[in-house]
């Protein structure tokens, strides 16, 4: 059996002849970017053997080899993941409470006793909120007596090692074995994070009694070990509805700890959005508010005097820097800010202050937005020949915009951005139509999510992801999946309240809208 050595990771594996490098990496838990799920089309899993480059998903191991991966070991440290978000003020009334009877401490969940602990432990009562994102996990420990967040940590969702995007992951988990694998790696990661965090906070994991799982619907299926297959097939039905409790036996917390799952709105609008609605108190606002979580799936909620409608659109992975020639995640080396000054000179900012090695989502939107604003990219999305600027040069006979000598934006990249922003914009248009609202009637646009936080209003308007009528009304509210999850943890009344809110939301499936194609095509231009 040939042996493969991953030099940077210092890991070795013997494999059967013909195993791909990607398969070996997955067995060793080494993360390689695979947005095309090993189809050999995206080129992101590039590795080096000797002086030659190969795609890990296409390279079969037939002899002993030593492989060099792009160094990702620091990715968890440098990746920009936002853990805090706008939140609502709430009265402290957690589901979990404790009472010392002079001898032992009884732990209550609501009105029923969950278990007892010897001695007086009533001062030590903690809960956890977890935002299970497709790409990232955020875990925070909350003191249930004070309502304060003590510590938090974020890292990449280890499930991405097996399948990167939501649909590939649903596909992977469509059989029992795959589902087990994905559930277990998630639980291992959560336990590890809970372990380090409680050490850091100097508390015992035994005193953690409840975990709130915020996340998109597919991730929650996987976390709870529920078959996600129906999510990936029309009519896209969720198998769980949230507003329910699970035992937390696999998690490293109190033996009688529980997991609370907030209400789920639909197959593609999950508990993370319910948490967002709670954090933003959308159901109580008198104004008209559009709440959007921009990511691979653009989930959005439109609130008009407390009445809510929700939908999601398939934006694809372009905003995460995938499917883009020089695209990358928001880690060290990524161009994250870009602008063209009045004298035509350019300014840009690179994460970590290092040499630019790629462009992340916020950088992509800035670059495209600025080129559109300057008329270098025309309304139809093509590099025009009327105007020119330093950096606009030919590469392999095609016009390309160079940010640096190695980092550039191609015509095809612009097309991918058009498809992604067109999807979000057409979702917005469809929701407005459904609620009979004009664009100028929207008072406020709240952009949630860790990715959204790094965007700026000007770029969103320049590329037409948002219509011009929204100018000056955009606020970035951060990771409301996390802050809303904390609100669920701290006040049990929100649980019944949000169950009602979620059931009354008008759910809109864009695929069933006959005019969707027209709206989508009209939303592609700049």
């Amino acid at each position: 059996m040939p042996e493969i050595i991953f030099a940077n990771e210092q890991k070795t594996l013997s494999v059967t002849n013909g195993t791909t490098v990607l398969e070996a990496a997955r067995q060793l838990g080494i993360v390689l970017e695979t947005p095309c799920n090993g189809m050999g089309t995206c080129g992101k899993c590039k590795i080096k053997i000797g002086s030659d480059y190969f795609l890990a998903c296409q390279k079969n191991i037939t002899e002993n080899i030593t492989v060099f991966t792009e160094n990702k070991e620091n990715e968890n440290k440098t990746l920009q993941i936002l853990s805090g978000g706008q939140s609502c003020s709430c009265q402290l009334k957690p589901f979990i409470s404790k009472q010392f009877d002079g001898e032992k401490t009884v732990v209550y969940g609501g009105n029923s006793a969950l278990g007892t602990e010897s001695g007086d432990t009533s001062k030590s009562c903690y809960g956890i909120t977890v935002d299970i994102g497709t790409t990232t996990l955020v875990v925070a420990i909350i003191n249930l007596s004070s309502g304060k967040e003590i510590v938090s940590e974020s890292r990449l969702n280890p499930q991405s090692t097996y399948a990167q995007d939501v649909l590939s992951r649903i596909h992977f988990a469509s059989n029992h074995e795959g589902l087990n694998v994905l559930q277990n790696v998630l639980i291992d990661a959560l336990n590890e994070m809970i372990g380090t965090l409680s050490e850091k906070a100097k508390i015992s994991t035994k005193n953690i009694y409840e975990i709130v799982y915020s996340g998109n619907t597919a991730m929650l299926h996987l976390a709870c070990g529920i078959d996600p297959k129906p999510l990936g097939q029309y009519p896209y039905l969720s198998q769980i509805h949230g507003g329910e409790y699970f035992t937390a036996l696999k998690l490293n917390i109190s033996p009688f700890g529980v997991i609370y799952l907030p209400p789920i709105i639909s197959a593609f609008v999950g508990a993370d959005i319910t948490s967002g609605i709670l954090a933003s108190q959308l159901y109580e606002q008198k104004e008209t508010i559009l709440f959007i979580d921009i990511g691979t799936n653009g989930e959005m909620v439109l609130a008009k005097n407390g009445a809510l409608a929700a939908t999601s659109t398939a934006a694809g992975p372009a905003f995460e820097g995938m499917n883009i020639t020089c695209g990358m995640r928001a880690g060290n080396g990524a161009v994250e800010r870009f602008c063209i000054n009045n004298d035509g000179s350019i300014d840009y900012q690179v994460i970590g202050g290092t040499r630019a090695t790629g462009i992340c989502g916020s950088g992509l939107l800035d670059i495209t937005g600025e080129l559109v604003r300057q008329g270098i990219i025309g309304k139809s999305g093509r590099f025009t020949s009327q105007k020119t600027i330093d950096g606009l040069r030919e590469k392999d006979g095609k016009k390309v915009f160079f940010v640096t000598d190695d980092v550039y934006l191609t015509q095809n990249d612009v097309r991918q951005i058009q498809l992604a922003k067109g999807a979000v914009r057409s979702g917005i248009e469809s929701l407005l139509m459904k609620m009979n609202l004009k664009k100028e009637e929207v008072n406020r646009i709240e952009i949630a999510g860790s990715f959204g936080y790094h965007l700026n209003e000007k770029s969103l308007l320049s590329i037409g992801l948002l219509p011009p009528e929204f100018e000056g009304k955009v606020t970035f509210v951060g990771n409301t999946a996390q802050s809303g999850g904390t609100a669920f943890l701290l006040n049990v009344d929100f649980r019944t309240k949000m169950l009602n809110v979620a059931s009354e939301i008008q759910k809109i499936e864009l695929a069933n809208n006959e005019n969707f194609e027209k709206i989508f095509v009209a939303s592609l231009g700049f």
């Binding site: 095309c36 089309t41 995007d165 097939q233 029309y234 694809g316």
Partner: protein
């Protein structure tokens, strides 16, 4: 007006490339009034324009909206010329059944491919979306189609494409049809894996592929 036939055809072609619907209709009327052969006017005029639009799409110059507008201009002309096509000039078109595989309702890509194939002279029968594998086969047999084209945008539904091929094999009619696939998550490699005859990554390439599959 002193315009030669070639000049008129070339103007018709330009009208399609430039997305000028009214001009395309007007020039098509001119062709009818001048007594030119309607089939020829489509073939050497309008359709040439659509071919050029397809090339611009490949080069990244045109995108989906432009392609749709070019098709509108093409169809405006075809509507006018169609009634004048002499029956003996109506060559037998190759038939294609096309649809989105079961479980999937994303059909914008499929619609674009359908449009391009129709403009390139194929007789395209649209089975719609969320189409069960067995229906692809039944309809292909019924229509005596040459090609079965299957689209998917969701990784979770791609296995259904292989099922179409399996059914053809089981029925012993695999050789009677060419099977071609496409869509966001689909790749050449996947096409090879399931034994499909053709794969195309975009709507314009689909024409070239279809032509090759029917030996045109």
């Amino acid at each position: 007006m002193g315009k030669t036939k070639d000049e008129l055809y070339s103007e018709m072609s330009d009208a399609v490339v430039n997305m000028e619907e009214e001009l395309s209709a007007q020039l098509s009327n001119e062709a009818v009034e001048s007594g030119y052969d309607a089939f020829e006017a489509i073939d050497l005029g309008l359709a040439k324009g659509m071919e050029q639009a397809g090339r611009l799409f490949d080069d990244g110059e045109y995108f989906v909206p432009e392609l749709l507008m070019c098709a509108d201009a093409l169809n405006a002309g075809v509507e006018i010329l169609k009634p004048y096509i002499k029956t003996e000039r109506q060559e037998k078109k190759h038939k294609i059944v096309i649809g989105v595989i079961a479980g999937d309702t994303h059909d914008i890509g499929k619609n674009l491919v359908k449009l391009m194939l129709s403009s390139a002279g194929f007789d395209v029968i649209d089975l719609g979306r969320d189409v069960p594998p067995s229906v692809f086969v039944e309809r292909a047999v019924q229509e005596n189609a040459k090609i079965i084209m299957i689209s998917s945008l969701m990784t979770t539904t791609m296995d259904g494409m292989a099922d179409v091929i399996n059914i053809l094999n089981e029925k012993g009619i695999r050789n009677e049809f060419k099977v071609a696939i496409g869509g966001g998550p689909v790749s050449r490699r996947f096409a090879d894996q399931i034994g499909a005859d053709g794969y195309s990554s975009n709507a314009n390439q689909a024409i070239k592929m279809a032509n090759e599959l029917v030996g045109r």
